[in-house]
């Protein structure tokens, strides 16, 4: 039966409404529990001992004092830890291998690969005892030669490894030649430092074994991948591993993979046969969870005198650990933003004796847009042209590389909207020409860009006889408000009140959901939720037909879902009425299968769609970032004083949570621009500011009111028209701030963060 199901009412106010989070009260009252807050009878605590040298062989490890410490149950080291299996390197077809963070078999090796690698784990009856005993463990190292200085290693850069989610370089024409002959050109080098995520919740694991069955409360953005990796490492069936993460206190990419703490907590529980909690300190997060790669980038632009780009060159060098890492797609946005005649994009990498680098909010674009958009601003300055005008003159109709169509593109509209709200027309173009008292004032602008993709998502939607609905899917709530938005989508699709929808998520016992990564969760789920709801409406219509409801006598196409039921020209009935007449207590609809075969076909279908969609359309969230800074002419202190971000994220499902996502991105971008920098000692590879005192995220006083506006135009190729909102907000921010600083001072800073010493 392929008859069209009854349609939802498209104008239903629940979609797009700024609905409060359904879990807001649970979170603010402490009822929402996070991974380190689950108690189990007999729970004990683990603490890590981390290496203090970059590369070495362990020649001994003295655990006597630690073992003698009161409360200590055991100290696991490479000398006594049971063997675990090595997790395969990331690659297809099994997408869960993406979660393999490093190639190291922790505690099954005497080799130290990075400064911070766990070399022992202490288990004790209290967390304090475990931590103190960890300080008493004395490893002895035989140092091995190590390469830990990114800058020094640059000459050894090699072509970047590929990854299905991280596009490689690209070329069109002969960009270097076009550059050499361009009437106007810029050729600039930029550097960005390492960054860390600093989610408010440090990583934590609570692990419980019942025989060979494992339950893990984990703060993760990928519960299914985590489950599969753990099953592999510990050699147990996937079905016997359950991973729960109902609430996660922020991830930003830092909780996407299986970092050593998780493995070692599970190992400790296995060995001690006790439930084990390992809650990392902030410092341990820095030492054992990767950060964003540092980069050095070259952007060269050539143009005609009236600002038509003839050449665009963007190259990058980033860092991997020898043991793994994320190939940062630094030139990603440069494939799509400007219609240059000749293009050359090239990404290279160096491998260091360091922890794997990893994804961090908009990997690639967040630092790539800083360099690209600074260079565009510089070109506009040299051309004597308004920087928005320059961008509009080079706005492409089709993707500049390959000519693929855009699924839709609203960057012009975003600029128009942002410029209006910001008052851009009032800008005086000359650098240093705007002042407020003693402050130098600068206005800068930059483009935001983040690709839109989807993961497979299994869901079930269950309609009860009382008219309430339950959505079940193992997706993630890491702070973005996903249960709320998905409940809105269900309410919209079934025409039921928002309050009638309950959502279960964050548990591998549920249908497998998408990872919370790549800004893909909302759209991935929306596709499946819509399909399930359509299926459900079809089933209800069938029930209505069989039980003699007025609904069943009308054609599905004439029915709309509203007011808790289906209604047509000849009248309608609530779901409750239909189900009760039919004597049904509930109706289920399901998308996707969690059987082995179902999973394989799901992944194949997913891969095929990814390839097919990629050939048909270039899809992305875009935006225009407008920034005002004030710079103290005496001290070089920079303060961001005004912000407007105008975004095209397709359909806005929840105006409140979407705005929060974008604001959060902008705040993180302000940190990237002005203050964030992981200090890696070039002599030892040791992170020297592994805390929130030394790593400067923006504080409240650094962030002005952030005006976020939406173009609000659905993408015709995405489910419900939804594009991603999680990452586009951080992109362009570094460029907008740097450009505003240039406008204020006449000084362009090529090296993030823009600290005051660079402006003296």
């Amino acid at each position: 039966m392929t008859q069209a199901p009854p349609a939802p009412v498209t104008e239903a106010p629940v979609l797009g409404a700024p609905v409060d989070r359904i879990d807001g009260t649970a979170k603010t009252t402490g009822q929402a529990r996070y991974a380190a807050e689950f108690d189990h009878p007999g729970l004990v605590h683990a603490a890590l001992v981390c290496a203090t040298v970059p590369r070495a062989r362990l020649v001994g490890i003295d655990t006597a004092d630690a073992l003698a410490h009161p409360g200590v149950l055991t100290v696991l080291t490479h000398e006594n830890a049971p063997t675990m299996r090595k997790s395969p390197s990331p690659g297809l077809p099994d997408i869960s291998t993406m979660a393999t963070a490093t190639s190291v078999t922790y505690l099954n090796t005497d080799e130290v690969h990075w400064n911070g690698q766990p070399v022992a784990v202490v288990v004790a009856t209290t967390s304090d005892a475990a931590k103190e005993a960890a300080a008493l463990v004395r490893p002895s190292y035989e140092p091995l030669p190590a390469t830990v200085d990114f800058q020094a290693a640059l000459p050894d850069a090699r072509p970047q490894k590929r990854n299905p989610f991280s596009p490689a370089g690209g070329a069109k024409g002969d960009a270097e030649a076009a550059l050499a002959t361009a009437p106007v050109s810029v050729d600039l080098t930029f550097t960005t430092p390492m960054h860390h995520h600093n989610a408010i919740e440090p990583h934590a694991t609570t692990a419980v074994w019942h025989g060979d069955r494992l339950t893990v409360h984990e703060c993760t953005q990928t519960i299914d991948w985590t489950r599969r990796r753990l099953a592999h490492v510990f050699g147990v069936p996937v079905a016997d591993v359950r991973v729960l993460a109902e609430f996660v206190g922020g991830g930003f990419g830092g909780k996407g993979y299986l970092w050593p703490g998780t493995v070692l907590a599970v190992l400790a529980a296995r060995v001690t046969e006790r439930p084990v909690r390992l809650a990392l300190s902030r410092e341990e997060v820095y030492r054992t969870v990767g950060g964003r790669t540092p980069s050095t980038q070259r952007v060269a632009l050539g143009s005609t005198v009236d600002g038509k780009l003839t050449a665009l060159v963007h190259t990058s060098i980033t860092q991997l650990g020898r043991i793994g890492g994320w190939p940062e797609q630094v030139t990603s946005q440069s494939r799509h933003l400007y219609d240059a005649e000749h293009v050359l994009l090239r990404q290279r990498q160096v491998e260091l004796d360091a922890l794997s680098t990893t994804t961090m909010r908009a990997p690639g674009e967040s630092i790539g847009t800083y360099a690209l958009e600074s260079a565009v601003d510089e070109l506009a300055h040299r051309l004597g042209m308004d920087p928005i005008e320059l961008r509009m003159r080079n706005e492409p109709d089709r993707n500049p590389l390959g000519g693929t169509r855009f699924s839709h593109r609203r960057l012009r509209e975003a600029y128009a909207l942002g410029a209006e709200r910001f008052g851009w027309a009032e800008r005086s173009p000359e650098p240093g020409s705007m002042r407020d008292g003693r402050w130098l004032v600068g206005w800068g602008v930059a483009s935001a860009y983040h690709p839109a993709q989807m993961f497979p998502a299994n869901v079930t939607v269950r309609l009860f006889a009382d008219g309430t609905v339950l959505l079940r899917s193992a997706f993630h709530e890491t702070g973005m408000g996903q249960p709320t938005t998905q409940a809105q989508i269900v309410a919209h699709e079934l025409g039921v009140p928002f309050e009638a929808v309950r959502v279960e998520h964050g548990d591998t016992a549920l249908p497998t959901g998408p990872p919370a990564g790549g800004s893909m969760q909302t759209a991935s789920l929306a596709a499946s939720v819509r399909a399930a709801c359509a299926d459900l409406r079809r089933s209800v219509h069938g029930l209505a037909r069989r039980s003699g409801s007025v609904v069943g006598r009308q054609r599905p196409a004439d029915l709309v879902a509203r007011d808790g039921g289906l209604f047509g020209p000849d009248g309608g009935e609530t779901y409750a009425a239909i189900l009760s007449r039919a004597g049904q207590s509930r109706v289920d609809a399901k998308v996707g299968s969690d059987t082995g075969l179902g999973r394989v076909t799901g992944q194949l279908r997913f891969a095929a769609r990814m390839v097919r969609d990629g050939m048909r359309w270039v899809r992305a969230s875009t935006g225009a970032q407008f920034c005002e800074v004030r710079v103290d002419p005496d001290t070089g202190e920079v303060r961001v004083t005004r912000w407007v971000g105008a975004f095209d994220i397709g359909t806005v499902v929840n105006a409140k949570t979407a705005t929060s996502q974008l604001r959060g991105g902008i705040v993180m971008g302000i940190g990237l621009a002005l203050s964030e920098e992981t200090l890696v000692d070039p002599r030892t590879g040791r992170i020297m500011n592994p805390n929130l005192s030394g790593y400067h995220v923006p504080v409240h006083a650094d962030v002005p009111e952030l005006d976020v506006a939406f173009v609000g135009d659905p993408d015709p190729t995405m489910p419900l028209g939804v594009l991603g909102a999680g990452e586009v907000g951080i992109t362009g921010v570094g460029g907008a701030v740097a450009n505003a600083v240039f406008h204020a001072t006449g000084r362009r800073v090529y090296d993030l963060p823009i600290t005051l010493d660079k402006l003296l």
Binding site: T52, T635, H696, P698
Partner: protein, 330 residues
């Protein structure tokens, strides 16, 4: 954190007795620095004497027209105290420029005076540090030293004293009152902290069991004053450079000046040389610059902190310029 004996002292006599009886004991006030260092295993005392309940939390006027401030007074209470706000606005500004509201609610005057450096290597047991472990070396030289000192340093240590409050106290000629089982004594603030020399682990002139009981401020001067802090973000960051200044100008000439610097030295830095150059000089930008240059002439810089010389110069000049303007308006 290592297990330790805990003594809660109801009065000063018990506190100093407990400290005298247990060599290596530490006083616990707000704990915002000590507990962090214990968690980092940098401080490992066998005994902790909790002084947070000592009745040393008041501000009293002295006969000479100054104030006596109890050593256990919270930073936030001190900043908000009407007599401090009106008579020593520079001190209120300095306190409010420090840390965060939550930390200021915990931090005490005594703890703020004795807080330890924020040199990252000092906090990390995996790196050499003469201050933490004499004789091991100094990882900051040749490492990250952007936040480090340019004045008063030695070959063995280049760390700063990180306090904001102390910079204002240095400018105000505060006197610290201390007590131990042997009795009491008064130490001018300028003599409380030591320069590192060959012994960077010895940071003050206090005996290990001496308790700070109060801080005395002399009568306030009428001159306009200001605390200006320059840092890497708008709030909740330690000073790269800070300036506490009071400037009295009569007929275009500097009649009196007090100037102290933070973020540039191992101790709160009274800018004696700059004061000498300024006193009696015309209150002009040139004099301010000359004074700053004189003070900063002996600066020794490292790879990362060279900018501090220029930043300190500019901040001194800008602060004095503002004060001169304010004074001429009054």
């Amino acid at each position: 954190m290592k297990d330790f004996a805990y003594v809660a002292a109801p009065d000063v006599a018990t506190a100093v007795r407990a400290a005298a009886d247990a060599p290596g004991a530490r006083f616990l006030a707000g704990g915002t620095n000590l507990v962090d260092l214990m968690r980092q295993h940098v401080e490992r005392p066998d005994t902790v004497v909790d002084i947070s309940r000592l009745p040393l939390t008041s501000v009293e006027e002295t006969k000479s027209g100054g104030l006596r401030i109890g050593a256990l007074m919270r930073n936030s209470d001190l900043a908000a105290h009407p007599l401090v706000r009106t008579r020593y606005p520079m001190l209120t500004q300095a306190l409010l420029a420090g840390a965060s509201a939550q930390l200021r609610n915990m931090a005490t005057v005594g703890g703020n005076l004795l807080q330890r450096t924020r040199c990252p290597y000092f906090y990390d047991r995996a790196t050499p540090c003469h201050k933490r472990e004499p004789g091991t070396g100094c990882a900051a030289v040749g490492g990250f030293n952007r936040s480090h000192a340019i004045l008063g340093t030695s070959a063995s240590c280049v760390a700063t004293h990180p306090s904001d409050m102390c910079v204002a106290l240095a400018a105000l000629d505060a006197v610290v009152e201390v007590e131990d089982v042997r009795g009491t004594r008064r130490i001018p603030l300028a003599d409380l902290h030591r320069l590192p020399g060959d012994t960077p682990h010895l940071e003050t002139t206090l005996a290990p069991d001496e308790l700070i009981t109060s801080v005395e401020l002399p009568a306030p001067a009428a001159a306009p004053s200001r605390y200006r802090k320059v840092r890497d973000r708008a709030s909740f960051a330690f000073a790269l450079v800070s300036v506490a200044a009071a400037l009295e100008v009569t007929d275009g000439t500097v009649a009196a000046v007090r100037l102290a610097l933070g973020g540039v030295a191992p101790k709160p830095w009274r800018a004696v040389e700059a004061e000498r150059v300024l006193t009696g000089a015309p209150a002009t930008e040139e004099s301010f610059r000359a004074a700053a240059d004189a003070e900063l002439a002996p600066a020794v810089t490292l790879d990362g902190n060279e900018f501090k010389v220029e930043l300190a110069r500019r901040t001194i000049v800008a602060t004095l310029r503002d004060l001169a303007r304010e004074g001429s308006r009054a």
